[in-house]
């Protein structure tokens, strides 16, 4: 199985309103709820691709119960979330029907106690025993030490399990030094890590800092990969209109499934770009459109780049 870790799981709630105006009262016309947090999104895409996935991280309160009830209903996904005393956070996306724009309200998440953090690390070690690969995804909830991902990367490497990391800021900086197999920063995270706003230079610099492979997600510009086997730029055939929520998580699922299936790098990148574009084009935020994915897969242009930095 593939293991995904979401330390700051969420109940993602989407509201549709006619037009959002600060300081007014709004009647919400439609409400949708689904499990959220990057690692849960990655797991949903992996299961749609036919992989067995186990999810871990934290769950608590009535919001955590709703997340777990919905996970149980997702075929191919096994729930190994660790219970905590606090409540799983909500995120609220308010979609303005007139402009199509989204306003986001994100709760901070429950405070994790040292005992809960220890309990998680034990569960994580046990799950690694049967994992073909692991993805560590998203922000850290209050109470989890900033070096958390560095420790989880070391544990995975000691267990011989390939580890992908998708986070930003100080948790990313610390974890890169622990030599993860793959990091997938976006342009902002990459610039913050390396100090460079030039993606080709920054991607290669991030490798020198410790990541075995770096795949930078550049939005509509596709993916830029610096690997021990070579450097590539993978670009979708056309700019798709839609909602970019979850596009990065779909790219992570593409890279992770390609790793487990031992696909050549160009095929992994083509899959990740097609999944990402098919997520932007899907009507529901964070889902991917299967028809768009199948159509785009053969149309992604993957170009080798010169290996010299």
């Amino acid at each position: 199985m593939i293991l995904t870790v979401t330390l700051n799981t969420a109940l993602d709630i989407t509201y549709r309103v006619r037009s959002l105006r600060p300081h007014a009262a709004h009647r919400v016309s439609a409400v949708t709820e689904r499990p959220g947090g990057k690692g849960l999104n990655v797991a949903r895409v992996l299961s749609a691709l036919g992989h067995d996935v186990t999810v871990t991280g934290f769950t608590g309160g009535t919001t955590g119960r709703v997340v777990q009830e919905q996970l149980t209903a997702t075929p191919g996904v096994v729930d190994a979330l660790v219970p905590v005393a606090g409540a799983t956070r909500r995120t609220i996306a308010v979609v303005d029907e007139r402009s199509g724009d989204t306003t986001q309200l994100n709760e901070p998440g429950p405070a994790i106690t040292p005992g809960e953090w220890s309990a998680f690390q034990e569960v994580y070690r046990e799950l690694l025993a049967t994992a073909a690969a692991v993805a560590l995804c998203g922000s850290l909830p209050p109470g989890v030490p900033v070096g958390a991902y560095a420790g989880l990367v070391r544990t995975a490497r000691a267990a011989g399990v390939p580890v992908l990391l998708d986070t930003g800021g100080e948790p990313l900086r610390r974890a890169v030094a622990a030599r993860p197999d793959l990091i997938k920063p976006n342009a902002d995270e990459l610039a913050e890590l390396t100090g460079s706003h030039e993606p080709v230079r920054a991607t290669r610099d991030a490798r020198r800092r410790g990541a075995r492979t770096v795949v930078a997600s550049l939005g509509a510009e596709g993916l830029l990969a610096a690997t021990p086997e070579g450097h590539w730029h993978a670009v979708p055939p056309s700019r798709l209109r839609g909602n970019p929520t979850g596009a990065g998580d779909s790219a992570v699922a593409g890279l992770l499934s390609g790793l487990v299936e031992r696909l050549p790098w160009p095929d992994r990148l083509a899959r990740a770009v097609a999944l990402s574009a098919a997520t932007v084009a899907a009507p529901a935020a964070g889902e991917f459109d299967r028809g768009t994915y199948d159509r785009l897969l053969g149309q992604v242009a993957v170009t080798p780049e010169a290996s010299a930095a």
Copy 2:
């Protein structure tokens, strides 16, 4: 006991954000949750005044479970909510810390089936047998007929239980014809009912349409009462700054407790105005500040008005 009916119960969630900007992502710095819907607010104030209260209406889903858990923790309040298949709605108040203003997002509430509506009416009839008074409060959820309050007023009158109604629009218009003992419209609801924007004239007109007593809430201008025993205007001693959320519900609790305690009308109105003002002055929305209430109670000016329309 006093019975309060909240057909559209809610889980009231308050978020604090630095500054609300449409189409941006916001980190919520503080989250509070409490049972909501007008009748539940009225019940909380009645219990703080020392009355035994039973609450009924609908509850469903995980949001309904949270509402019920918190109600159980409120001393003096008995939970007689009727379970439904849909989920109790959430309301989200986003408080902008810079301006102090609040943006409100209200879910529509669960669709009530005809069977659930029948089950509620049976519970309501049973609860009336031991009720000293009943308050019917707030909006109707989808699926409940627009004439619902008219029917509930008739049932209460047939059982000999004094009935207070606090709603607006078409449900109010229909229920007034069923001759409730007391209605408490705000200025907008009163104007919509009578077609008159002149409160003294409109209050008296609303009596002619069927309400035995009309107490109009005019915000900082206090309460205007048209009763069979006379007409009064009750005004708070000074304009209080704060959050008006729940001020009308506190006024209802003041009027209802005064009715059950058989206070003279001027004392009922003074209590309702002092509770209402103490709610505006309280730091938490919908709570009342006991010290402010005690201090204001003797300072409310209650003036008789000429009885001629």
